[in-house]
Each structure stands twice: as structure tokens, then as C-alpha cells.
């Protein structure tokens, strides 16, 4: 939709008929306070309202009423000619009549529309035509009054509305909603297949006892989970509502330097608190294992081990020694016994050796004394006996080696452990000191945090008092306002605490549910319900696939919106810091627009001018997206969006907007000099259409019926 022409007739300060022509780009209306900027804006709001018949007599021009003779009537009218697949017109009007006693009666409310069908002009209801060409969803992102209302996402439903209207997720609704009251196909299929599955399980007599137990567990867990989700939803809504209320109050006091000071101090205190908290590590339980703190009492036990191992090793050696001695004695006795028997010390049994002995026996010669020793002689028998003795002695030695006293050598292993672990003895002895050191460090940091928290509390208390302040309040009203604000802070804190607890509980129940469901499914595996179980599983998987696809679509849409918004932000910020826009979807479905720097640090309180450009960038992005999706454009209309801009920045800002190929209508009091006349140098520097709005002179300061706006095309 592109506005071509707007006519305003007898609407408040627009006495008589005023027609303004528009082009595709930026049209700027410049006027001072009371010159009719907001009235023009409100005339459009009135025209665009398709919901009610508002023919309030207060909309009528005072001057017209004053001039109107008794019992005469006239007409109030706002009409718009626009381009939307051909030229179309909407017109809203009502007539007003002066009764006796100057009473005004309004009647004959009309809302008409015309469009061309070939060459024929067809008339239809204006509201219907407007809703068709400029739907209500889009109008939310079109008209903006003042700087504070630019944040479209202040309205919690706005984001969902936007996503549903302009992303593709609506396509998923027939298949997946995730809403218990409004089933999509997969929700329905999962629900039905689960029922069939559970019915089949119940009919299976074999598992009936177990089935009963498990399904009652499942029912209980599901009920708990649904309860928690409900409570979570309520708490999130509460937190959000009170936060919005506080935000509204805060933004109405934006200019207060006192508030700025408090906010700055709060920010620095909070930053400091977060930093100190990051030093605190109280995972003592984990340290018991990872840092082996659990060994802090181990010294005496390790000593016991060492003593035991030492004693064992010593005893082993003693026994070995004794054993050796014992064996040595036996051998010696044997040798000595022999020598006593023969009266001389014989040669060792090893001399001559085994081979020599065999050779001598074979040759029947004693090569030791050089005499013959034929078989059967004493000498021959002596040699055979000696060889046998030698062989026997060798055999018994081998046998003896096979059976030592200690076949195992665990002593060595235990001694090695004693030595290697013994190196760490000092560390074990120092563990108590180390533990104490860590605890003391953490306690000191906690004390610091506590002190900072006290300062934060004081600042927050001041903030609450400041927010409650209002010049027109009596002492009592002030006290009430303060109580309210304090309560809101408390409600938010309480809701946030609850949210954390509930999220934790919810997660735990989800896990339990999953585990019980697994048990239940296992029970089904070999029963008659097995097929039903498979059908149910398949539908659950399909449902999940839809769920993830829907979430992905939402994410993609937000990324696209962010991306486009950031491009506008870059353009609109002529110089200076501007940051990166992030649109954060909160769990309750609403969204927050925030600024980050490139290190992902949040810019907690951007100045108003930056905030305005940030919101406008999002609005431009929304508008661009809708243009792409709907193949149709619509105008953006702002009343006084740049009040907080430095004068030298405004011209550049407007020039950037006029370069964006987009119909924009902006009402502003910029470009006026101190005495209220146009600043011609600044006007010259702009390259857009400009209308001057002013009160026709002369007029009576105290008489509204003398006030009328005149509109002049400047360039």
C-alpha cells in the first residue's frame, strides 16, 4: 500500500478542508508544539480504526463549531487515496449539527471505500477494504507516536503475531501445535496411538500388575509435569507484566539525571558483584575427588600400610634366610658324613665331569690313575657308582630349584607402591591447610559480595523511591506509588525465583517420566501391545520432527529479521557506536530487542537516540520482510520519533531515511529556529518532501475556537 493523498476536513484544528499529496519516499511535516502534528497523526489513527464507530463530537473542529449557525450541520471527514493493486479510496465521515443551546449532535457515521474494477468504480465498506489492503497485523507496525512506543515488542503478543503472520510456521498448525486445547494432526495421532497402546497394554494379562504400577506412575508424573508447566507459565507472565510496568515508569523518567546516576551505579555494582562471584568456587564435593581432598585424613592409614609392608618384607627375608641356612646345613651334613665314612676327603662328585666319566666307562680305563678297569672289576663298578651319584646330585638340585620357599613376589609390588605413593606424603599432610585456604578465600569473596549487595539494595531502594515520585502527588499518593513499585519489584523477584525452582523440578520430572516410559516400553516389547507401541513411537517421532521444524523456522525468521535490522542500524547511525541488534525470544513467547557489542557484551542502557534508531531499524526490517512476503509495501508513520537526537544528527538521519526506498511519513518539530520559524539552511540540506504545519495567525491564546492549522508545501 502506498498513500497518494490524504484529505482532512474539520478534524479538530484542521478547520475546513486540507489535502496533502504524498510521494513514495520520505514526507516530513515540520511544526511546533500545538501546530497540529499529533492531530494529523490521530486523524490517520481514527481513519485506520476498523473496529468501532467513533463519532465523538470532540473530534470536530472548535472553530467550525463556533462558526456554525444554530440548527445548521456540516461534515467531518478524513479520506485517503492509496495505491494497492490499483487506486483505491477509503473515507470516514460523520455529520454534526448544532442544536439549541449550542449543543452538538453527531450522526450519519459513514465508512466507505471505492476500488476500480476495470473502468467501473465499485463502492464497498471502507473497513473491509482497509482490512483487505492494510491488514490489522501490519498496522501494528505502521503508526508510532513518540519515542517510547517504538519498541513494538513491548506488547508480549507482538512477536508471535509477527512470526505467525510472516514466517512459514502457520503451515505447521494443521500438523503440530503443541497445544493441548488445539490439536494438530500429529498431536492427535500421538494422543490416539498412545491411548490405543495403553489400552493394549492393559488388556495383556501377563503384565497386568506391572502395567498397573507403571501406568499409574506415568499418570502421576504427567499430571505433575502439566502442573509445573502451568505454574511456570503464570510466573513468567507475572514477571513479564510487572517488568513491563516498571519499564514504562522508568522510560517516562528517562531524562532524570538522578535516575541515570542510580542506574550507572547499579550497573557498576552488579558488574563488580558478578566478577567477584566468578572467583568463588564452592564445589567442595567435587574437590574431594578431583583434588583428592578426601585423602586429608589418610596419612595415618598410609603409615599403617607402610609399616605393614615393611614388616612383611622383613619377615619374608628372615624366613628366606632361615630357609637358606637350613638347606645349607643339610648339604654340608651330607658332605661331611661321607668323608667321615671313608676316612679321607674325596674328590668332588663333579670331578671328573659327566662326559669324562662316561668315556672312561666306555673305554674300561680309569684315566685318573691310568689303569685298566674292565667290566665286572671293582674299579669298573666304582666308576659306574660315581657317575650315578653325579647324575642323582644334578637331578635333585633341579628339583630343589623348582620349589622355592616363596613362589610369589607381591612384596616387591607392595614395596614399590609404598615408595611411589610415599613421595606425595607432604601433599597429604598439607591437605588440611589447603582446604582451609580455599574455604577462607571463598568466604572472603562471599563477604565482599555481601557488602556489594548491601550497596545494591540501597541503590535499588532509592530507585524505587525515585520511580514513585511525581510532582502532582500528595504525600499519601506518593507513599502508595512507592508501595506499589516496591511490591512490583518483590513480585518480579519472587516470580523469577519460582521460575528457577520450577524449571529445575520440571527437568527432573521430564527425566523421571522418560525413564518410566522406557520401562513401560520395555514391558511392551514382548507382549501383544508391541505393535501398538511401535505405532506410538513412530507418531511421536513424526511429531518431534514437526516440532523441531517449527522451531527452526522461527529461529530462521528471527535471524533474518536481526540481519536486516542490523543493516538498517548501520545505515541510520551516521557515526559513533551502534552495536549489534539481537532479538531474543523469551520462553513465554514474547521477545526482547537488545544491543550487544561485538564481544557479545550487552549494552545495558543505550542512550535514547541509539534506542530509537535500534527500534526504527527493527521496524524497517519488519516492513521490508512484509514487503517480500506480501509483495506489497506499506508506509511507516512516526510522530516525533527523534526528540532525543542532537540537532546536527537529525538532518543526516532524515536524509538516510529518504534514501531508503520506503514511504515514510514523519512529524517533527526539528528544523525550527528558536523563534519558531523554519531553519532554511537545514531545510535546504534535506532532500525530501517537506510540509510546514502552523497555527494560522492571529489566534487567541486562550480560545481554542480561534485555532486552525494551515499546511504549506515547502519543497
Amino acid at each position: 500500500m502506498n498513500i497518494k493523498e490524504i484529505t482532512i476536513e474539520n478534524f479538530r484544528c484542521y478547520y475546513g478542508k486540507h489535502t496533502v499529496k504524498f510521494n513514495d519516499g520520505l514526507v516530513l511535516f515540520v511544526g511546533d508544539n500545538g501546530d497540529g502534528k499529533t492531530t494529523f497523526f490521530e486523524a490517520l489513527e481514527w481513519l485506520f480504526d476498523t473496529t468501532k464507530q467513533n463519532k465523538d463530537y470532540r473530534l470536530v473542529s472548535e472553530k467550525k463549531i463556533a462558526e456554525l449557525p444554530e440548527f445548521e450541520s456540516d461534515i467531518l471527514r478524513v479520506s485517503m487515496t492509496f495505491e494497492h493493486d490499483g487506486e483505491k479510496i477509503v473515507e470516514k465521515s460523520f455529520s454534526f449539527k448544532k442544536q439549541s443551546g449550542n449543543e452538538i449532535r453527531t450522526e450519519d457515521f459513514q465508512f466507505k471505500g471505492w476500488y476500480k474494477n476495470g473502468t467501473e468504480r465499485v463502492q464497498i465498506h471502507g473497513g473491509e477494504l482497509l482490512d483487505r489492503c492494510f491488514e490489522a497485523a501490519i498496522r501494528k507496525y505502521c503508526l508510532f507516536k513518540g519515542e517510547e512506543n517504538l519498541n513494538v515488542f513491548n506488547n508480549p503478543d507482538a512477536l508471535n503475531y509477527l512470526i505467525e503472520t510472516f514466517s512459514n510456521i502457520k503451515q505447521f498448525d494443521p500438523y503440530y501445535t503443541g497445544d493441548d486445547d488445539n490439536f494438530g494432526f500429529t498431536d492427535f495421532a500421538v494422543n490416539q496411538s498412545r491411548k490405543a497402546y495403553e489400552k493394549a497394554m492393559k488388556s495383556d494379562k501377563q503384565n497386568s500388575q506391572q502395567e498397573k504400577e507403571l501406568s499409574s506412575k506415568l499418570d502421576l508424573l504427567r499430571a505433575q509435569l502439566s502442573n509445573i508447566r502451568q505454574r511456570l507459565k503464570t510466573n513468567r507472565e507475572n514477571a513479564n507484566n510487572y517488568a513491563t510496568k516498571l519499564n514504562e515508569i522508568e522510560s517516562s523518567k528517562e531524562a532524570s539525571s538522578l535516575l541515570k546516576g542510580i542506574n550507572e551505579r547499579l550497573k557498576s555494582l552488579n558488574d563488580k558483584k558478578i566478577k567477584i562471584e566468578s572467583y568463588i568456587n564452592e564445589d567442595y564435593t567435587i574437590k574431594l575427588l578431583d583434588e583428592m581432598w578426601i585423602l586429608c585424613g589418610f596419612s595415618s592409614i598410609f603409615k599403617e600400610y607402610q609399616e605393614k609392608v615393611n614388616a612383611f618384607s622383613k619377615e619374608k627375608r628372615r624366613l628366606e634366610d632361615e630357609d637358606k641356612k637350613q638347606k645349607g646345613k643339610q648339604e654340608a651334613y651330607q658332605e661331611i658324613g661321607k668323608s667321615i665314612k671313608d676316612g679321607f676327603i674325596p674328590l668332588s662328585i663333579y670331578i671328573p665331569d659327566e662326559n669324562t666319566m662316561k668315556e672312561m666307562i666306555e673305554d674300561e680305563v680309569c684315566k685318573v690313575c691310568g689303569r685298566e678297569a674292565k667290566q665286572g672289576t671293582d674299579a669298573y663298578n666304582f666308576m659306574v657308582d660315581k657317575l650315578n651319584e653325579l647324575l642323582k646330585s644334578q637331578q635333585s638340585k633341579a628339583q630343589k630349584e623348582e620349589v622355592p620357599l616363596f613362589p610369589n613376589n607381591y612384596a616387591k609390588e607392595l614395596e614399590q607402591k609404598s615408595i611411589s605413593l610415599g613421595y606425595n606424603q607432604d601433599e597429604l599432610n598439607n591437605l588440611f591447610a589447603k582446604i582451609r585456604e580455599v574455604i577462607e578465600f571463598n568466604e572472603a569473596r562471599k563477604a565482599e559480595v555481601k557488602k556489594i549487595q548491601e550497596s545494591i539494595d540501597i541503590e535499588e531502594e532509592n530507585k524505587k523511591k525515585l520511580l514513585a515520585q511525581n510532582d502532582t502527588f500528595t504525600e499519601e499518593q506518593l507513599q502508595n506509588a512507592y508501595e506499589n513499585i516496591r511490591n512490583w519489584f518483590d513480585y518480579i523477584n519472587e516470580a523469577e525465583k519460582q521460575i528457577i525452582i520450577l524449571e529445575k523440578e520440571g527437568k527432573k520430572i521430564e527425566q523421571d517420566l522418560e525413564a518410566v516410559q522406557k520401562e513401560y516400553d520395555n514391558l511392551a516389547k514382548y507382549s501383544i501391545a508391541s505393535t501398538y507401541s511401535k505405532v506410538y513411537t513412530v507418531f511421536s517421532k513424526i511429531q518431534n520432527a514437526f516440532k523441531f521444524a517449527k522451531e527452526k523456522n522461527t529461529r530462521d525468521f528471527l535471524f533474518l529479521l536481526e540481519d536486516k535490522a542490523n543493516k538498517y542500524l548501520e545505515k541510520l547511525n551516521i557515526d559513533g557506536f551502534y552495536g549489534i541488534i539481537r532479538i531474543i525470544k523469551t520462553p513465554d513467547g514474547s521477545a526482547r530487542i537488545v544491543l550487544q557489542d561485538k564481544n557479545d557484551t550487552f549494552v545495558t542502557s543505550p542512550n535514547q537516540a541509539l534506542k530509537t534508531t535500534m527500534y526504527m531499524s527493527v521496524l524497517f526490517a519488519v516492513s521490508e520482510l512484509t514487503t517480500i512476503k506480501r509483495e506489497n509495501d506499506y508506509p511507516l508513520i512516526f510522530d516525533a520519533p527523534t526528540s532525543s537526537f542532537a540537532p546536527q544528527k537529525e538532518s543526516e538521519f532524515f536524509n538516510v531515511i529518504s534514501d531508503i526506498k520506503k514511504q515514510c511519513i514523519i512529524f517533527s518539530k526539528s528544523f525550527l529556529t528558536d523563534n519558531g520559524s523554519l531553519d532554511s539552511t537545514k531545510i535546504d540540506s534535506l532532500h525530501c518532501t517537506i510540509y510546514r504545519m502552523e497555527k494560522k495567525k492571529p489566534f487567541d491564546n486562550l480560545d481554542l475556537s480561534t485555532v486552525q492549522t494551515v499546511l504549506t508545501l515547502i519543497k
Partner: protein, 186 residues
């Protein structure tokens, strides 16, 4: 002659515990029965694998110098001792393989095991390891009961940051100078 170390034979074992502790303690504080996972904190568990609580319970029994025989049904832990404290996949945790060796030395110290008989082969290595494991199980069993007792007195005891540490320190530090180490709750 045996070629394997006593420690290695012991480390291949899975110690057992009284079955009811699975529900009342192990699943409460650890990932026991859930399978391995990187982020135990996301599940609200204080410890990681089931054996971590087992180690803790063992030290409680050890420092209290009290054993308790297992009664009724029992189960074994999922992981043999040789894997305790390896934690390879867990980024936020630090491995503590050495702790296993200390536990082993404690078992040698505290088990009435005739080392000479073992060295002589009169007792087999498996019999010896059975005895060590038995000591471990009895200490841990005492520990589990003590933990349960503590929770009966104060269900929140182990949910304080200092809960697990306090119980150990209480067993070790004489009450007169306990003030220094015990932490006041803020």
C-alpha cells in the same frame, strides 16, 4: 609363580552394595543408572558416576574405622575399579586415577590378610583380592548407612556446598578445633 600384580587383579573387580541404596542414595546424588553424561549439573546431580558416591562412602567407613556387613539383596557397580576416576569425556572434571592406588593401600593396611601365606602361595591371589574387596564393601556399606542416617536428621545436609566435606572433616578433626574448618552458612 604369578605374573599379574595384586593391584591389577583387584582393580578388575566390581564391588557390591545393598540394593536399596540405589534408590535412596545413588540415583539421588549421581548419574547411576542413567549412563554417562558430560553435564551432571544439568541434571541437578552433585556427583557424576555411581562409583563416586561409593568412594565417598568407603572413606566415611574408613575414617570412622567402622565396617558393616552387607545384608539382604545386593547389586554390583557398573564400572570395575580400574576405570574409577578416569573421567576422560568430562571436560569440567579432573581425572583422579591415583586415588585408586590409595584405596588399595588402605585395604592392604586394614585387611587381616596373611601376606606371608599369600607370598608362599598358601592363599591364592583371588582369595586375597576377595578379602580386600570384602573390606572395601564393608567400609562402604557402613558409609552408606551413615550417609542415610545423616539425611534422616537433616534432608538438606548434602545439598549444602559443604555437606559432603563437612561429614569427612567431622570424622577427622577433633571437635575442639573444628570451628576453624567448619563453615558457617550464609
Amino acid at each position: 609363580m604369578t605374573t599379574e600384580n595384586l593391584y591389577d587383579i583387584w582393580a578388575k573387580r566390581n564391588p557390591k552394595f545393598e540394593t536399596h541404596f540405589e534408590e535412596t542414595l545413588l540415583r539421588l546424588f549421581t548419574d547411576y543408572g542413567v549412563g554417562s553424561s558430560d553435564a551432571m549439573s544439568s541434571k541437578g546431580k552433585i556427583l557424576g558416576a555411581g562409583y563416586e558416591l561409593y568412594i565417598y562412602a568407603f572413606f566415611v567407613g574408613l575414617y570412622a574405622n567402622k565396617k558393616r556387613e552387607l545384608n539382604g539383596d545386593y547389586k554390583v557397580l557398573g564400572q570395575p575399579i580400574q576405570f574409577w576416576g578416569n573421567l576422560d569425556s568430562k571436560k569440567i572434571r579432573k581425572a583422579y586415577p591415583r586415588l585408586r592406588e590409595y584405596i588399595f593401600t588402605a585395604l592392604i593396611a586394614k585387611t587381616d590378610l596373611d601376606l606371608i601365606a599369600l607370598e608362599k602361595g598358601d592363599i591364592t591371589d583371588n582369595q586375597a583380592v576377595d578379602m580386600l574387596k570384602d573390606t572395601m564393601e564393608q567400609y562402604a556399606n557402613y558409609g552408606f548407612h551413615a550417609i542415610e542416617e545423616k539425611m534422616k536428621d537433616n534432608p538438606n545436609y548434602f545439598y549444602k556446598n559443604t555437606g559432603f566435606l563437612d561429614m569427612i572433616l567431622d570424622l577427622l578433626v577433633p571437635s575442639s578445633n573444628k570451628e576453624d574448618t567448619e563453615i558457617e552458612e550464609l
